[in-house]
Symmetry: C2
Subunit: 731 residues, 2 copies
């Protein structure tokens, strides 16, 4: 799992990139004192950029062509510098320029797309009003970057996680684990998080108020650029800096702060120099205050440190995948964008361990024809748009590094689309060499287009043997697997064998370290030992500060041939890593709809499998004759695992349907006066089409069960039962 | 959720009681340096005390009678003191004596029970070897009190939580929420945790090593008592102190430390005075270091602070229940007893909000005949054993405070037994008045008997209006509901009404606080104001340090009659709170079995609904003809949501069955040479009875699905298909 930071030297830590997520305001107050109850924000419409194939639109393409050419020219220049082995600083500067041109192209592309007006404020109002989620501890003023999921959000999340478990863990027979959140320092030291998981910030020297440095610079320069009195040259400079901000170093940013004389935007106070702020929450484990620990910033490390046990559980065989669903924590300097950048979040991560020399996947055949919208590093350098391509072709042409990576990308797309992500607003963007970790072979992010821009929702990386190697080095426990050799190898073995009986008496407690040291000698050292024993009769063995004089009585050199059937390998890791909150947010945006003739009537078209509740039960009126039918129907629905809501409140059927549409209930059963007659029957309504059918009461629980668990689709039901024609608003 | 502490003045904080969990060793080293790989502990057999009805055993009862009488005498004495209004200190001393007598009775009772030898070390070895769970970060030396669940433990846990959600949330239509773990200080200040959630500890003055005080005293005195040179009088004193330790104050414990001159057991260093150590993990939220937060010590507070939104979601109606599954954290001074006392754990909590004057439950009728083993506070004071009684009778005789509490107790029992808790080792123990929180009306703990003694697994308390009141006071946000009055009430209203137009001009920005202050005046104050205005022409309104002079132009007193249709009530909360790790541990112990004729063959008889995997698929041999059958069967099982494991490793069928028995797989399908013939058939084996049937291949997925999800039972299958007689060990 990856999180974007502004420090370009941090690229070898796994981070979530959000370069596309910058928005124009920033909240310095992370602990708002204002209660949120009943506050109605003014509705502000946000333009939604629906992704579109600009190549198919000649007018748009004409405008984009020069921008594409400009990106390509710079891309070629970077390639040239690299091939010539130019100085690192020159390459860095060229890459920064490339990124700024690329950003301009992408932003223009988004602006040119046919815009649907998406009303984010209205959606957020709905999500809050119906308690999908809201700020945590709101009655205490709230904490930004933390959210509580209410009944609807919690059920949606639980269903999404359940679907994930079915789709990945069960179907692929992965080994799911559930590891500790509190993590001792040495583990995160080895993973690199203690030293490098940081963002730059500055502090108000008087009040201690903190600001994330890139946010501060951006806000400051945008204010200057918006001022009428500012010269065109300065405006251009400000815009240029904003575009290049992502790739800047600490020194460069400090320089800009000074140049523009930036102060606290709250009170004009002076600010400190930039400080690297580690994003992990620290605490002490145990009462002594001596054992430092952190809340894990990702779930992956729990899997890596358990690798040996997992391999054993899998009877020593590769490949296998482990998976984990759990919470992780990042102490963001200024959380923002709702569920997208938060301090506490749920992740679902997979670590697929395989032979580094064989990354084929047995089920790749099943997905090879899946078409994905791929935005390759090459296209990004050449100013070309993303393109649809089958994953089979992508792997066979080496665009995607290997079958296993390709298999997971296809499965990620299947999963996201099944859960409600709009396939037209989903792409896979490859990391360019400057953003990819040094040890990674290839990395693709599944990005969803939202009103915040393209949001990285799933990262999918080939992390090579990095993590296992790091923990092996830190602990001395070899996190490796054995691979059967195709043919046994006969090896010459030279060994320094201690005479334990004799040595034990002399060296006593030191015997253990001496034996270990002898085992560690390499072939040259053993030969020196052999020569020394023969020529001088003794050999000085150094261990740390100590020295032990060994004689021919103590140790003998033996030579023999050994046959090896296995070799030790450190597995490669392919890591698909899901940000659950971001996926949820994207699904909300992609499924927030307004009725055609009534803008006020909004609803969420979540797929049934993840909808919080599967079905509503609505008596036409408060007539007591309906009550026994409601009770028995509710019991029957519970029996077949259909979560449902009985809405016997007053209000017309139409109004109650509208209420259930808001919380995404896909099916509605109405009990009316015809229900009372024999044979008993009810109506069943589908949320998106608002089509209703009439069917026997005894069928309905089973039908809704089948619809809810993807065993039948609505058209099956429509063809089987007569349509019920009464209009909602007249009912 | 409640956690036991040694501070008797902490009774009004929700704590998990483990007075029954004390064991005789203690681990001061909370950060063990020893790696755990492949370490085989010597098998140590622990006597398992199966709970039994001692009343039915005249010989045992004869031995217990004097102990019962001694408890009753002291119980009566305590009652007498209370009825006479004796000094608090006298009552406290008498209660301590009562507790010590009660403890002796209960321990004797357990000793007299018919003992099955339970081999805890062997069970722990199985759980570790098959990676149900193990110490976290073991390759880094491990952290005590933290555990990672491997594939089998994780699947078991996920199934248990899924069952919980089905059983409680869906069936009772509860409002499930998912709230933040990181909690700002003011929330936990209001709940009482910041001030009172503490254990006593002492520190080594030189090394800083910490010891939990009660553990230290107990270990020290037991060592003295075990010494042959110790006099009988001192031995008796030591035993007496150990028994009374639970109820002792800080001062009393400090006195004992001094009297016995206790030093660090590790190195004989001096120890500090007792220190109250808060058990919450602290951290800072945000970069400034100024916002203090804690990892939540229970999930309940997240529900309470969201009460208003939940009530709104429920359309303002009472009663309703909210639920939450999530992790909580407690920085135990010395964690121990495996999963029972840990630093990081999963809870599932329900908060049922209801009218304080109406705690009837609409579904109580459904459970009223359920028999529960109740160990009432009275029985505990009278030295009587727990008794089986129907929950209907328990509520009607006021033994259990109300229907809602009784309903949940019955449902808790149903749930635990369904998930594998042995009903013979389950009891409900009522809190005695000395251990119950001052605000609670009644509290019963569901306790499971394990080799550690009776372990509290679920708490079930009527917490009255305590929590909502606390958060209302802390925030000023009224966490209350409206109740429709049976008849409208007409009230005389007296109001001080400001003349906004006039006052606004004079008081400007202060207008708001003045208006608020006027609204807050009580009837007497309004009358004073009215008199003052009439007599003096002005009234000094004090607000904090300020004073505002009001005249008749500013404010007028109005009197009128108002009809009220609703009254405001603060709901009562009934809280069932499940410790998931403890339930898992109890289920492990209650389901760890050995085959009758082969002690070495151990297995776990987990019920199918919570078993990690539902079914194994075993080809008789590595014959390639079996492969297509395995593949298609595996696909079919996945389609009907049956998690399964294909074991095509070498080894006899019998050995492979034994392996799947160890990981609790309830059903095994074997593909043999008869499978190859048409009509294709397979054998199906049930784990506990080891009975096998032969059935058509096409039936088997559906059959295992039905068995796994409680839709059919094994006897249905046995009666439908022919028995397959081949013996396991010969197959």
């Amino acid at each position: 799992m990856k999180l974007y930071t502004t420090l370009s030297h941090l690229v070898d830590i796994k981070l979530f990139t959000h370069s596309t997520l910058r928005i124009n305001c920033f909240s310095a107050a992370y602990y708002s004192q204002k209660p949120l109850w009943g506050k109605n924000k003014p509705h502000r419409k946000v333009k939604l950029n629906l992704y579109f194939d600009s190549m198919a639109d000649p007018a748009a393409e004409k405008l984009l062509a020069p921008l594409r050419a400009s990106v390509k020219a710079q891309g070629d220049f970077v390639r040239k510098l690299k091939s010539e082995g130019a100085p690192a600083l020159d390459i860095k500067a060229a890459v920064a320029e490339l990124l700024s041109r690329k950003k301009l192209l992408e932003e223009t592309e988004l602006k040119l797309a046919p815009n649907a007006t998406f009303d984010r404020a209205r959606m957020e109002d709905l999500l809050k009003r119906r308690f999908f989620y809201d700020q945590s501890f709101a009655i205490y003023g709230g904490i930004t970057g933390q959210f509580d999921f209410g009944p609807m959000g919690c059920a949606f999340k639980a269903n999404l996680l359940h679907a994930w478990r079915q789709f990945f863990v069960l179907e692929e027979q992965m080994l799911e684990v559930d590891c500790s959140i509190l993590t001792p320092e040495p583990v995160l030291k080895a993973s690199g998080h203690v030293d490098r998981f940081a963002d730059l910030m500055v502090k108000d020297v008087k009040t201690g108020e903190c600001f994330r440095l890139d946010h501060l610079i951006k806000a400051h320069l945008e204010k200057i650029a918006a001022d009428k009195k500012t010269s065109e040259a300065t405006k251009a400079e400000c815009q240029d800096i904003c575009i290049k901000l992502d790739g800047m170093t600490k020194v460069e940013m400090a320089h800009i702060m000074k140049k523009f004389d930036m102060k606290s935007p709250l009170n004009g106070n002076d600010l400190t120099e930039p400080i690297e702020f580690n994003l992990m929450f620290g605490t002490q484990i145990g009462p002594s205050g001596l054992v430092k620990g952190f809340l894990r910033p990702e779930t992956a490390q729990g899997i890596f440190v358990n690798f040996k046990r997992l391999l054993e559980f899998n009877q020593g065989k590769l490949p296998f995948a482990a998976a984990q669903i759990g919470n992780a924590f990042r102490n963001e300097i200024s959380p923002r964008s709702g569920l997208i950048r938060v301090r506490e979040f749920t992740m679902a991560e997979i670590e697929h361990f395989c032979d580094p020399n064989d990354k084929a996947h047995p089920k790749f055949e099943n997905v090879k024809n899946s078409e994905l919208l791929l935005y390759s590093a090459c296209s990004q350098m050449d100013g070309k748009p993303a393109e649809k391509i089958s994953i089979g072709k992508a792997v066979s042409t080496d665009l995607v590094a290997n079958e296993t990576l390709g298999y997971f990308m296809a499965r990620i797309q299947q999963f996201l689309v099944r859960c409600g992500v709009d396939p037209a607003r989903l792409r896979f963007r490859q990391h360019m060499s400057n953003e990819m970790a040094h040890y990674a072979c290839d990395c693709w992010d599944a990005e969803c287009l939202t009103s915040y821009g393209w949001v990285e929702c799933v990262g999918c990386a080939d992390r090579s043997a990095f993590d296992l190697t790091q923990h092996t080095q830190a602990t001395g426990v070899r996190l490796a697997a054995e691979k059967k050799l195709s043919e046994p190898i006969v090896k010459d073995v030279v060994e320094a064998v201690p005479n334990r009986a004799v040595m034990g008496k002399i060296f006593k407690r030191d015997m253990k370290i001496i034996t270990e040291a002898l085992q560690m000698l390499n072939i040259n050292e053993i030969e020196t030992l052999e020569n020394d024993l023969q020529s001088k009769g003794e050999y000085p063995l150094r261990i740390g500060d100590q020295q032990f004089l060994l004689t021919r009585d103590h140790v003998a050199v033996k030579r023999y041939k050994a046959t090896e059937f296995v070799e030790e390998i450190i597995p490669s890791v392919i890591e698909p890593s899901f940000g659950i909150g971001r996926i949820m947010y994207s699904i909300f945006e992609h499924n927030f709809k307004q009725r055609e003739n009534d803008e006020q009537r909004t609803y969420l078209s979540l797929p049934a499998i993840i909808a919080p509740l599967k079905c509503s039960v609505l008596p036409l009126s408060s007539n007591p004759e309906f009550v026994p039918f409601i009770k028995s129907l509710s019991a029957e629905l519970t029996k077949v695992d259909v979560s449902h809501k009985v809405d016997d409140s007053s209000g017309s059927i139409g109004r109650r349907y509208a209420r259930t549409d808001e919380i995404a209930i896909p099916y509605g059963i109405t009990i009316d006066f015809d229900t009372l007659k024999e044979p008993h029957s009810v109506t069943l309504r589908e949320r998106d089409s608002m089509v209703q059918v009439r069917l026997p009461l005894q069928d309905v629980a089973k039908v809704v069960h089948n619809l809810s668990y993807n065993k039948e689709v609505w058209s099956d039901i429509e063809s089987r039962y007569p349509k019920f024609e009464q209009q909602e608003n007249t009912a």
